[in-house]
């Protein structure tokens, strides 16, 4: 299948992501911020699709937009919006934030300047249809062999399991 109007969709999605990203941090109302964040996540999912990574895009929608953001909203709904909108934002943390933002910007600029040379082996075009299988091979290994990320994956899942148990213990008074 030949992609259609690729630049248009790229700029649309990228623009949407940036604009809604700005909205996330400028809205005083936390629910509005959350909604803007959902738009950001969805546009990023669209960008993943354009990069021939449909599995990542699907997971992005399910996990972030569908799952985590619902929980975000769940919590935000219980917060007193009127009170939080009156509170001062960036309470004395803005120098740190500025430093972090500058560092990130520098990273982006340098990556942009070096361009193709920085990611030579990632630039090969992946066949769209086997994207999921390739991810699986990297994470779980193929034909009895450990994949390059199997160990990291298992460690991460163990960490998450510990976090879940911790959350259960912290909230339950009696087990």
């Amino acid at each position: 299948m030949n992609p259609v109007a690729t630049p248009f969709f790229f700029y649309m999605l990228a623009g949407l992501a940036v604009i809604s990203g700005v909205l996330v941090i400028t809205r005083r109302n936390a629910v509005h911020s959350a909604l803007a964040l959902i738009v950001t996540l969805l546009s990023v999912a669209g960008l993943y699709l354009m990069l021939y990574a449909p599995f990542v895009a699907g997971v992005q929608i399910i996990v972030y937009a569908g799952g985590i953001m619902v929980l975000f909203l769940f919590v935000i709904m219980l917060v007193n919006i009127e009170r939080s909108s009156k509170e001062r934002r960036f309470n004395r943390m803005w120098p740190v934030g500025l430093a972090a933002a500058c560092t990130l910007l520098a990273l982006f600029v340098s990556a942009f300047a070096k361009g193709k040379a920085l990611f030579p082996d990632r630039m090969m075009s992946l066949p769209e249809s086997s994207n999921t299988q390739q991810i699986a091979a990297m994470l779980y290994g193929d034909a009895g062999k450990m994949g390059p990320y199997t160990f990291a994956f298992e460690v991460a899942s163990l960490l998450l399991l510990a976090a879940i148990l911790g959350a259960v213990i912290m909230t339950k008074k009696k087990i």
Partner: protein, 436 residues
């Protein structure tokens, strides 16, 4: 005629428009599906009211059109003309956008639902993932609507439904994974996430996944069937809009068109999740026993089914005409129902003609396109029939059961469905390895 129109008519292009890269036909399909789903929702609205009424020894809508057939249209007009009330204390923008989110999520799902091997807008290779993801976005509409109403009952409804949908998604996802695992039980050992691929896998393995590794497939299917009722907020899991507790739950403050958008989204989601169940476990568009009864004669017999169904519907309508009391009051209704019966009969005739004409093994362009058309009708018919069974079940559940309480619902979700679905997944994997 331009090439892009002809490409689908002369049979030179196979597969979904998405695969073929035919934007024109993709748009046509989107249009057909959007219209079809909207009509199906209206039909479902009528059917639910009628079926529920007959469960409950009443007649249901009888006045607007013969046997209330035009009731959904009257309802739609009424809802569109009603005043659109936005509460003063509500968050205007979010209140305004919430029904749209729900509707968007409900309808976006239909892009990957395969009504037939080529009767889908697109065959995404992450089809099922996309479906689960997008349908899980529907909860955002509900949550946000409940919050934006700035009122207690909608807020509680939204809290309930967000907790409910997120928890049942887990069990649902695991049940789906066990079905996807079954697609990989072939020679190459590679499964698929594509909706069309899943049906094809059932075709190749010669068994609907509901019967595969009996009873593993069945258990996974039952878990999905339970979870999907919770996902769509239907009885007995309709805590989010439990009218006796929360008046109307998250849409208490909504009225008119905006309220009807919620209803449209709810019914569209019902059809969508039923389609997932049909695709994953009940062989999607396949007719019964496609491998066992594969002789052309059987093919022909099964292809008569769509026509015969419409003959049956026309007969039911005709019985209604005959049984209508003889009175001048009923004259217009009688004529209307007779016209409706005639229309159904005409469709039946058309379908039967296509079925008979499509049988010929002529290789001319015209004959082969008729045959292709007949095949398409068959696929869509069997798919829709299976989905219709689920729709009927939704009504049946609603008429039969009391409502679960919220904590009981969560207990069922986390302590019963989740462990069972995990167990089924593990056992399926083990059995799969042993078998292959």
């Amino acid at each position: 005629m331009p090439n892009f129109i002809m490409s689908y008519l002369d049979g030179s292009v196979r597969g979904t428009p998405g695969e073929a890269g035919s934007q024109f036909w993709a748009l046509i399909y989107v249009f057909i599906i959007f219209t079809g789903v909207s009509v199906a929702v209206m039909a479902m609205n009528w059917l639910e009211r009628k079926a529920l009424a007959h469960f409950q020894i009443r007649l249901g809508p009888m006045r607007v059109g013969p046997h209330g057939l035009l009731q959904p249209i009257a309802d739609a007009i009424k809802l569109m003309l009603k005043e659109d009330i936005i509460p003063a204390e509500a968050d205007q923008f979010v209140f305004w956008i919430a029904p749209m989110i729900g509707l968007l999520a409900a309808f976006a799902v239909y892009t990957v639902i395969p009504f037939g091997p080529s009767q889908a807008v697109s065959d995404m290779n992450i089809g099922i993932l996309f479906m689960l993801g997008v349908s899980s976005l529907g909860v955002l509409g509900i949550v946000v609507a409940g919050w934006a109403s700035n009122s207690h009952y909608p807020l509680i409804g939204a809290l309930r439904s967000s907790a409910q949908m997120v928890s049942y998604e887990v069990a649902m996802g695991l049940a789906v994974v066990s079905a996807i695992l079954m697609t990989s039980m072939n020679a190459s050992g590679t499964g698929t996430l594509s909706m069309i691929g899943i049906v094809r896998a059932q075709q190749e393995q010669g068994v609907w996944f509901i019967f595969k590794f009996f009873p593993l497939g069945l258990i996974a299917f039952v878990i999905f069937a339970i979870a999907m009722i919770a996902e769509t907020n239907r009885a007995p899991f309709d805590m989010a809009e439990a009218e006796s507790e929360l008046t109307a739950g998250y849409h208490t403050e909504y009225s008119g068109l905006r309220w009807s958008l919620f209803m449209l989204a709810e019914y569209a989601t019902m059809i969508a999740v039923s389609s997932i169940a049909v695709t994953l476990w009940l062989g999607g568009w396949m007719r019964p026993f496609p491998n066992l009864l594969r002789a052309p004669a059987w093919d022909f017999i099964f292809s008569l089914f769509p026509g015969l169904t419409f003959v049956g519907l026309a007969a039911i309508a005709l019985v209604g005409v005959v049984r209508m009391p003889v009175h001048s009051f009923f004259r217009i209704q009688r004529i209307g129902l007779a016209v409706f019966a005639a229309l159904l009969g005409l469709i039946a005739l058309l379908l039967l003609t296509i079925a008979v004409a499509g049988r010929s093994v002529d290789t001319t362009v015209a004959a082969s396109s008729v045959a292709r058309f007949r095949e398409g009708i068959d696929h869509v018919y069997w798919f829709v029939l299976k989905v219709a069974v689920f729709m009927y079940l939704f009504i049946w559940y609603r008429a039969t059961w009391p409502r679960y309480r919220f904590d009981q619902l969560m207990r069922v979700g986390w302590k019963v469905l989740l462990p069972i679905s995990l167990g089924v997944l593990v056992v399926t994997a083990i059995v799969g390895v042993i078998v292959s």
